[in-house]
């Protein structure tokens, strides 16, 4: 039975904005990120990477590199254990060890540009790079396929000759089609036929990258006991441990992963890239080996999010009620199977109640890096298609699209496209807040001369995951509490965890000292991802804090020589039920514990179903320069049901950051692929993420519909905000220039084409 909670509002700590505990180290340069670590005798590892996107490896000659002074070890796929063809759950996404191993180090064939074929460890990074350049690899170059249409065309080059595709349960061979899934409910054809208004449109998107600023890194020691110690920047130390152990074919207990501070991830730092290679280099050299990835390789060889092709068809009656919808989605998996068609199917229709729906998704292998999670993986793509189609349907029918969204809103009990029924959700409240917002009610105003102005809006959805978390608490004699957790802090979660504990114990947020520790110091904890950390690890904190209260009641019982059942606890004060004037505060009690049974500790562990569904709506005003096609965002408002905002500043920050990643995706960002499968814009200069100069302030409206599945009403927050921006910008562009764009990025070139 899943526990449910009544909403509360009389919080002491929840909803305040204390300074984050780890902030002091992060503004002074003391915080140790993965790349900052050094160890005695440390040497550096560098990968030798394929210059081709698709080629057979004829030979690898490492002799010249081995002969160099300062080179300690060289490894190739021959040094990697054979990993089993086995799928393992990583919390957010799965890993197949065979594919993961193949991605790390090519054996006989490279399938994406930059694919490692060898790795070198040397005395320092410069020497290792020089040695890597001396490794001679002979290739037989094959034709590359870099988009879903080419990959599925008859006669297409086959990326993975031994791939067996799954077409609705039927095996397919000699194919780039890894999987075809379908969800269907109701009478789609009948309902579509009865619709008075229909629309069918195709949308195409390019692959994009998470764009975290910190490079991937790993430091490894393979010691004399055959224990493997890894220090790395990861979204999940335990998920990293699972992957490393699986790829290296050792027991998980042989691997200790220490998560150092992480400089952004957005889903891209769930897979491991360097960790197993650094470990094997360490085994061979018997030295600590550190690797830090160069930016070109981060673009070309890590886990971006898929581009692809989508066709949406909608049917509505004459009253503007949606009757039926279909979605056909082809996503790039990258060079190994496993794109995000599943989540895309779950998200595509979620803001709307539609009785008759069909969703088909295809996972297509291409000669590009294997995709990974990127903030609401799969949802921004389908939001672009669906929200563009909704707006165009309303334009053609002459309907007010805000009213259309209200009339068709999904609510508790609405069936999601994959069949799941929504519990308590806040989409109606989000629409209400949007309709009443300053931004929505403000006149659009006149653009400067030479520009056209437009306004757009769009909804977005992410389902938010629950999963496993563990925490430990211990009371210190000065009345503070140490909190040990396993969730890497990627954006201010230490303080949110401390606030959960402080709220229960009636102490201040800074009386709780949170630490993120390695895989041997806390119980299993799933990744910081899926918008789960504040929800699930926070829930574990709440459990542990309540357990601590129960333990401390026993100590008060000793102190007062009464039964523990005769003691109340509220707002940090223990009191006697019999004599109400008899009280002792948490801090005073903490100082007496040495004589009241000794140390007081507790633990909390959870495995939760869902972090509550997250809905948002964004409104954007843009100006388009009709001479150059440049789009400037001039006003932006992000509205979202956030459940309960534990630390509102960091909740606002999630909405702002997600919105801006979405703006970049809408206007500029793409993998610009050359014919040969190389990425033409693999630097920050050419990839061109938004800068401070490109943006206005990002206003936020936090709608708080408490999630009944969390003691404080927390709902996952971080991912939903990247879903609305792309269609909101598309709708604003259509509003400004009267022509709609169906492909991303909607850059200056596309807009000039649309204007001419």
């Amino acid at each position: 039975m899943v526990a449910t909670f009544e909403p509360k509002t009389d919080y002491k700590v929840i909803g305040t904005r204390p300074i984050r505990h780890d902030g002091y180290d992060k503004v002074t340069g003391r915080a140790i990120f993965g790349g900052d670590l050094t160890l005695p005798g440390l040497i550096w590892g560098v990968c030798v990477r394929s210059p081709h996107a698709h080629a057979n490896i004829k030979s690898i000659d490492t002799s010249a590199a081995e002969a160099m002074d300062g080179v300690f070890a060289i490894v190739t796929a021959a040094d990697m254990p054979e990993a089993p063809d086995k799928l393992v759950d990583l919390g957010e996404g799965n890993v197949n060890f065979k594919w993961a191993s193949n991605k790390l180090m090519a054996a006989d064939k490279v399938v994406y540009r930059g694919h490692p074929v060898a790795a070198v460890a040397a005395v320092d990074r410069y020497t290792a790079e020089e040695a890597a350049r001396k490794v001679v690899v002979e290739y037989e170059v094959l034709k590359a396929v870099t988009n879903v249409t080419d990959a599925l065309a008859p006669g297409a080059p086959i990326v993975l000759p031994d791939l067996v595709g799954d077409d609705l349960g039927e095996d397919v061979i000699n194919t780039n089609m890894a999987e075809h899934v379908r969800h269907e409910f109701g009478d789609v054809e009948g309902a579509m036929a009865s619709a008075t208004h229909t629309i069918e449109r195709e949308y195409n998107m390019q692959m994009v990258h998470q764009g975290y600023i910190e490079p991937h890194n790993a430091t490894a020691v393979w010691d004399e006991e055959d224990r493997i110690k890894i220090w790395t920047s990861t979204q999940g130390a335990f998920a990293a441990r699972t992957q490393i152990a699986g790829i290296l074919q050792v027991d998980v207990s042989k691997v200790k992963v220490t998560p150092l501070e992480i400089g952004g991830g957005f889903g891209g730092k769930i897979p491991v890239y360097f960790e197993p290679i650094a470990a094997i280099l360490s085994r061979k050299s018997r030295r600590p080996v550190k690797m830090v990835m160069e930016r070109v390789a981060i673009f070309e060889t890590t886990g971006p999010t898929p581009g692809g092709r989508m066709i949406i068809k909608l049917g509505a009656d004459s009253n503007g009620k949606l009757l039926a919808a279909t979605a056909d989605i082809w996503f790039e998996a990258g060079a190994n199977p496993g794109s995000v068609i599943g989540p895309a199917a779950m998200c595509v229709f979620s803001p709307y109640e539609i009785q008759n729906t069909r969703i088909d998704g295809w996972d297509v292998v291409v000669n590009k890096p294997k995709t990974a999670a990127y903030r609401a993986p799969g949802s921004p793509q389908v939001a672009f298609a669906m929200e563009s189609a909704v707006e165009e349907l309303c334009e053609e029918a002459g309907w007010d699209s805000m009213q259309f969204r209200i009339d068709n809103v999904s609510r508790e009990g609405t069936r999601r496209g994959d069949g799941v029924l929504f519990s308590k959700i806040g989409m109606e409240e989000v629409l209400e807040a949007a309709k009443n917002s300053d931004h929505w009610n403000a006149p659009l105003g006149d653009p400067p001369p030479g520009r056209k102005r437009g306004r757009g809006m769009a909804s977005g959805y992410w389902f938010n995951i629950g999963l496993k978390s563990s925490v430990n608490l211990a009371v210190n004699s000065d009345g503070t509490v140490t909190l040990v957790e396993g969730s890497p802090d990627i954006g201010g979660t230490r303080v949110a965890m401390a606030m959960h504990v402080a709220e229960v114990l009636g102490i201040g947020a800074h009386d709780v000292r949170p630490s993120v520790v390695d895989t041997e110091l806390v119980g299993y904890t799933d990744v910081t991802g899926g918008s789960r950390t504040t929800y699930a690890t926070g829930y574990a904190c709440w459990i542990a804090a309540n357990e601590l209260v129960d333990e401390l009641k026993k100590r008060v019982a000793i102190l007062w020589d009464v039964n523990e059942g005769d003691i109340d606890f509220s707002d940090g004060i223990f009191s006697s039920k019999a004599e109400s004037e008899k009280t002792i505060g948490f801090k005073e009690l903490a100082g007496k514990l040495a004589d009241l049974g000794g140390p007081a500790t507790s633990t909390g562990s959870v495995d939760l179903e869902s972090a509550g569904d997250g809905f948002g709506l964004h409104i954007v005003d843009i100006d388009i320069d009709t001479e150059t096609g440049k789009t400037d965002v001039v006003r932006y408002t992000a509205i979202q049901d956030v459940g309960t905002a534990i630390h509102p500043s960091y909740v606002e920050g999630q909405l702002q950051g997600g919105a801006v990643q979405g703006i970049g995706w809408a206007l500029n960002e793409e993998y610009y692929m050359e014919e040969d499968g190389s990425m033409a814009n693999s630097s920050f200069l050419d990839y061109r993420m938004p800068t401070s100069l490109d943006l206005p302030p990002i206003d936020t409206i936090l709608v708080e519909v408490p999630n009944p599945l969390h003691p404080y009403g927390v709902r996952g927050v971080g991912e939903t905000p990247i879903c609305p921006p792309i269609p909101a910008v598309a709708n604003a562009i259509a509003n400004a220039i009267g022509t709609r764009l169906y492909n991303t990025p909607m850059n200056a070139g596309s807009i000039m084409e649309a204007l001419s």
């Binding site: 340069g29 606002e652 702002q656 800068t691 943006l695």
Partner: protein, 158 residues
């Protein structure tokens, strides 16, 4: 260094007010000089091609991407990094404002932003929002959308 490496360059420099005398490989960036030779890892690597600003430091009062400067080039110059911003009296107002305004999420870009923003406020105590956005356009942040960073710089400037 390996025996085949070219001769080291003798560098006398002042880092965060402290004199340093170093032997620097001629090909080593200022970024690696700070991080690898001196151990000042507060200055971060982001891209190594001058496009993200995570490695921003000040050389003789002018902000630079330390990945694009050689260690050998700072001979006779004064280098200031994020580690030199706080004093015995406490945090620099920018550091305090970044904490209070929640202007960091992951924190990897924060040292670069702080050094860059200090470079602005040292010369222009009350810049406009537009001026701040323009000045900081060489520093990428992927987490915050810049909103809270701009507010923090505005707070520290007033």
């Amino acid at each position: 260094m390996t025996t085949s490496s070219p001769s080291m360059v003798h560098v006398k420099t002042t880092i965060n007010g402290q004199a340093h005398e170093l032997l620097v490989p001629p090909y080593m960036s200022l970024l690696d000089t700070l991080r690898e030779l001196i151990g000042l890892t507060g200055t971060k690597e982001g891209c190594l091609d001058g496009n993200c600003g995570a490695c921003t430091v000040s050389v003789d009062g002018r902000i630079v991407d330390s990945c694009l400067v050689l260690g050998a080039e700072v001979d006779g110059k004064e280098v200031d990094t994020v580690e030199g911003m706080a004093s015995a009296e406490g945090l620099h107002p920018l550091q305090q404002a970044f904490l209070e305004e929640a202007a960091l999420q992951c924190g990897i870009c924060t040292p670069g932003f702080l050094v860059a923003a200090k470079g602005l406020l040292d010369n222009e105590p009350s810049p406009s929002e537009g001026r701040i956005r323009h000045w900081l356009a060489g520093n990428l942040c992927r987490c915050t959308g810049y909103d809270k960073i701009i507010r923090a710089v505005q707070k520290a400037s007033s």
